[in-house]
């Protein structure tokens, strides 16, 4: 059967808008869902997505991707890579699946909002594919870890994590709810696809794919590469929205949406990706430091994209650059110290060789972060594991929901950015976290962070075991040191030899 070449029909079909007569435009596209911001629908019809694909092409490509990833999994299953992989790498996978898989499914709802409510027909077309993408990502990242549940209950957290009140889940939900589930279609296209996916998921997926290949984990590498190629396509939905907003006098709001999204994404990645890249991935398999990845993918590339669109670098850009030497080290130390509160086994990544690498990548690490690890290492080598476990909660930020951290040791600098609003005292981990709150207090003011819940009596008994129960962590699920303290033992052996 003759098929009309795509070039002859594509532009017409993708630009076709509905003709409605029984409802008004406002009923068809409610402002709170569409977010057209008073810009006429004719302007939205100029939306021009850079990546064009037809439905038959999409299905053929996706089928190929799935077949590739699933066949690698099937072929390597008997190889039982997971049984011989470094425990730090296992933790990387378990942390990743728990934080990502169910949020991928939530992202399909966000894509669905654009697919239905965007006034731009091109956006609706792209988002239809995006909905299918994210659904696939949710399924594949639940199916792959499911094969490992027989090995440990922690793998089950791929599905369980986002249905609990674990602190990391609260942080991830607070971010994703804000940028993708509780925003109008235009804001979703900017905050989710431009702010978050263009920079940060690229880094998580390309960076992890590189580390996975290095570590010999070809199943995980093929899985996340298959996900990343979808992200690279549907992440392009935000750019055309930004162009329309800027061209129609909404640059300031466009900038604000981008800035909030970037800052919040940065904080989440500082706890999710930073520790994985700089501490969990075995030293010999690390391709670049987290800071190097961030500089390449976010600082340089993203800044260029912003400039191309006529936007400025976010006002907090210098703070973010400075934080590349600080925040993720603090998040890692916090996760490790409070390890019973996470669903994976954090790798300390603080052996003599690791510390040499950290000092090289982050000059000054030993006299700051190293000071804390010195005390921890001594306690472990002196039989005082009890002193390396928490007896209270870290104070968490009312925006990112993550611990308020800063530089320890000789250059001690840990800052709180408090704000009293309508009689309530809020605490923020950075100026930018507080700024996000101040942009839209109505949106955030009711949210209770983990400390607020604890003080309100929601966590019973009001102690650490009560908090663990509140977070849904049972026996066999709570994190412990990934290498059973072998890294600390290495210092003891070093001292004995000396």
């Amino acid at each position: 059967m003759y098929q009309i070449p795509r070039a002859e029909w594509y532009d017409l079909t993708r630009a076709t808008n509905w003709t409605y007569s029984y409802v008004t435009e406002d009923e068809m596209f409610p402002e709170e869902m569409s977010g057209a911001r008073g810009i006429p629908i004719e302007e939205w019809e100029t939306y021009d997505e850079p990546y064009k694909v037809s439905y038959p092409e999409y299905v053929a490509i996706q089928r190929e991707k799935d077949a590739g990833a699933y066949s690698v999994k099937a072929a390597l299953e008997r190889d039982a890579y997971v049984d011989r992989a470094d425990p730090g790498w296992i933790s990387t996978m378990i942390a990743h699946y728990g934080a990502i898989a169910v949020n991928e499914y939530a992202a399909s709802l966000a894509e669905g909002r654009m697919a239905r409510f965007a006034k731009a027909p091109g956006n609706r077309n792209m988002a239809t594919f995006g909905t299918l993408d994210e659904n696939r990502h949710g399924q594949i990242q639940l199916f792959f870890p499911h094969a490992n549940i027989k090995r440990s209950r922690q793998w089950d957290w791929a599905h369980k994590a986002m249905h609990t009140n674990d602190w990391a889940s609260i942080a991830a939900r607070a971010f994703f709810d804000d940028i993708m589930l509780c925003r109008d279609a235009v804001a979703v296209s900017i905050m989710l696809t431009f702010g978050f996916e263009t920079g940060f998921t690229n880094m998580q997926f390309l960076g992890l794919a590189a580390d996975a290949s290095e570590a010999g984990d070809h199943t995980f590498a093929s899985l996340i590469s298959s996900v990343q190629t979808d992200e690279a396509r549907h992440a392009q939905q935000g750019g055309p929205s930004l162009k329309i907003l800027i061209a129609n006098g909404h640059k300031e709001e466009a900038q604000k949406l981008v800035d909030v999204s970037i800052w919040r994404a940065w904080k989440l990645f500082s706890v999710l990706t930073g520790p994985i890249m700089d501490y969990y991935t075995p030293l010999e398999h690390r391709s670049q430091s987290f800071k190097e990845f961030m500089v390449e993918w976010i600082i340089i590339q993203f800044e260029r994209q912003l400039a191309d669109l006529g936007l400025d670098a976010p006002w907090f850009w210098d703070d973010l650059v400075n934080d590349l030497d600080v925040t993720h080290h603090g998040m890692h130390l916090g996760v490790w110290y409070w390890r019973p509160t996470v669903w994976w086994n954090p790798a300390a990544g603080a052996s003599p060789e690791d510390r040499e690498w950290l000092e090289e990548k982050y000059p000054g690490w030993n006299k700051t972060w190293g000071k804390c690890w010195d005390v921890i290492t001594d306690n472990l080598n002196n039989g005082r594991e009890d002193l390396t476990l928490p007896e209270t909660l870290p104070y968490v930020c009312n925006m990112c929901q993550l611990p308020i951290v800063g530089t320890p040791g000789n250059e001690w600098n840990v800052q709180d950015f408090p704000l009293e609003f309508e009689g309530r005292l809020y605490h923020f981990g950075s100026k930018a976290d507080r700024w996000c709150f101040e942009q839209d207090p109505e949106r955030y003011k009711e949210h209770q962070n983990l400390i607020d819940r604890f003080l309100a009596g929601e966590i019973q008994p009001a102690d650490l075991p009560g908090a663990l129960a509140y977070m849904g962590l049972g026996p066999g699920e709570m994190g412990k040191d990934a290498h059973d303290y072998a890294w600390a033992e290495a210092f003891k052996k070093q001292a004995e030899v000396a």
């Binding site: 130390l333 104070y395 611990p403 001690w412 840990v414 800052q415 709180d416 604890f454």
Partner: protein, 86 residues
């Protein structure tokens, strides 16, 4: 006397922590309670120093025998606990 939550920012440590104190506690007792969760865990002890309490980023320390109930703090107030010569 009543339980009173504060946000402890201990010199040399990397994280702020929730620490329950008592409204009848003196500043020295507040410092001790904060130290319990930092010193010997991630901060090396400094036995030759005393620990002083001050509002976050303030210059002046509270008197060592001042009680929490007299300090005018808000619940979850952020406090710096620092090592000092006296």
């Amino acid at each position: 006397m009543a339980a009173f939550p504060i946000n402890s920012n201990f010199q040399g440590d990397f994280v702020m922590q929730l620490v329950p104190v008592d409204t009848d506690d003196t500043m020295d007792q507040v410092a001790e309670k904060c130290a319990y969760h930092s010193v010997g865990r991630r901060v090396a002890p400094q036995p030759e120093k005393v620990m002083r309490v001050r509002l976050h980023n303030a210059n002046d320390n509270f008197p060592r025998d001042m009680k929490v109930s007299d300090a005018g703090w808000r619940p979850t107030e952020t406090l710096d606990i620092i090592f000092a010569d006296q």
